[in-house]
């Protein structure tokens, strides 16, 4: 290779390196600005409680099944995190409800409940509010999740039995080198366990539920 060719080859190689470095840096910057999706996942133990001798249908509507919370970047107003918890919420209720009631039947709608003659009640959980506390925003060294549920209990013909609000709270300490995904997931799992604990131990004590259980000789 002649001196001139060597010089040109060196410039091209250097130029290629610089271009690649700039491309990598720009890609990294852009990916840092992109929305991050966090899919909550976890395993939940079955509650250790005595079952109520009831057959209950449960309806998970689309809003509950596909529940998704969007955390906004305070500075830019853009979406920062999308937290999908629907699947894990269903997993939790599918673990918890069979431990509380003798029989649990999954229903598509209140109308389909009428086809079951042995149903004692229909249970409809709904998420009213979902909040996330991130360390970089709250200036605390914990990840926090707070969820507000609306629980409805109805007879198989749709008649009202009870309608009450439950809240769940979970926090997880921020650890060195821990990702936001893991911190949020851990806090969410604590919150879901909190819900399961208060539901299983408090269900029979809801005044309207208690009255109904006594009328059904289930207590």
């Amino acid at each position: 290779m002649t001196t001139m060719n060597k010089s040109v080859h060196y410039k091209l190689t250097w130029h290629t390196r610089v271009t690649r470095t700039v491309l990598v840096a720009v890609t990294a910057l852009l990916s840092a600005c992109a929305v991050s999706t966090i899919n909550i996942s976890g395993e939940f133990p079955a509650p250790l409680v005595q079952k109520l001798p009831l057959t209950v249908g449960v309806i998970y509507d689309d809003a509950f099944t596909n529940h998704s919370f969007i955390e906004i970047n305070d500075n830019t107003g853009d979406d920062q995190y999308i937290i999908n918890s629907g699947a894990t919420q269903i997993e939790l209720f599918n673990t918890m409800l069979p431990a509380v009631f003798e029989n649990v039947i999954h229903l598509d709608s209140l109308e389909s409940a009428r086809t079951y003659s042995n149903l004692d009640a229909v249970f409809l959980p709904a998420i009213e509010e979902f909040q996330v506390g991130l360390p970089r925003k709250t200036r605390l060294n914990v990840y926090e999740i707070w969820v507000k549920y609306n629980m409805r209990l109805a007879k198989s013909n749709g008649d009202y039995i009870a309608d009450w609000v439950m809240t769940a709270y979970g926090k997880s300490p921020e650890e060195t080198f821990q990702s936001v995904d893991d911190g949020v997931n851990d806090a969410a799992n604590v919150a879901l366990r909190d819900l399961a604990a208060s539901f299983t131990l408090g269900f029979s004590n809801i005044p309207e539920v208690n009255e109904w259980l006594r009328s059904e000789n289930a207590l």
Binding site: L48, Q50, R193, L201
Partner: protein, 225 residues
């Protein structure tokens, strides 16, 4: 000062500084025990060590609870320890932050529930130990700067901080459903991080010392020695 002299000085500092500071980055640990009743543990019995997580400002770390359990479960006169997570899952929902018994009076109510009493009996739990506390960092000062260039890189500077571990263990007897005693540990130490080309961490193992101290004292307490 020429380059060779500077290099020689850097080498001296590199070796002398850690040796000097090693003598200084030590930990002091104080352990107090308060016994209310006699204790003993028989063959086939076990204990469970749980962290208190009701406080809004902090929660007792799982790693620390696991560390204390490890100390109690090994060595001479070791005691069988049920893993915290295994116990919490098996006893769910009775020992969650919202539902856990806060006093031995609540424990009586829990043991009145047949399924809960049966599960605790299956584990052979003779004592429940509640650990509550936190390690806090303070007095941070100094700074370290690191640079990298075509010829190489390095860090220069000095940082120091103080750690204070404060934990208390309360022991509940599952036969009498009473508190039989408590052990508190207070451990603090100063850590240093000089950086001469590379950072040299001289970390005071405050939490590790608190764990070892609490675990050893707990083992002696439950064995009745």
């Amino acid at each position: 000062m020429n380059t060779q002299q500077l290099l020689s000085l850097t080498k001296s500092l590199f070796f002398a500084t850690p040796a000097f500071l090693l003598l200084c980055s030590c930990t002091t640990t104080e352990i107090d025990e308060f016994r209310q009743s006699a204790t003993e543990i028989n063959q086939g019995e076990s204990i469970v060590i749980l962290g208190r997580r009701q406080n809004n400002n902090y929660e007792t770390e799982e790693d620390f609870v696991s560390c204390v359990g490890g100390v109690v479960a090994r060595g001479q006169n070791s005691i069988s320890v049920v893993e915290e997570r295994e116990f919490l899952d098996a006893m769910f929902p009775f020992f969650e932050p919202r539902t856990a018994p806060m006093r031995t009076g609540h424990l009586e109510q829990l043991m009145a529930i047949d399924v809960a009493a049966e599960r605790i009996k299956e584990f052979g739990i003779a004592y429940i130990v509640w650990v509550d506390g936190i390690t806090e960092r303070s007095d941070q000062s100094g700074s370290i700067s690191c640079t990298i260039g075509p010829g190489g890189g390095g860090c220069f500077g000095f940082g120091t901080w103080s750690d204070d571990s404060n934990f208390e263990a309360e022991i509940w007897d599952m036969n009498t459903l009473t508190t039989v005693g408590s052990i508190s540990t207070d451990s603090n130490g100063q850590s240093y991080m000089p950086a001469v080309v590379i950072p040299i961490p001289l970390i005071a193992r405050v939490e590790a010392n608190a764990c070892n101290g609490l675990g050893s004292q707990l083992k002696q307490f439950i064995n009745g020695t």
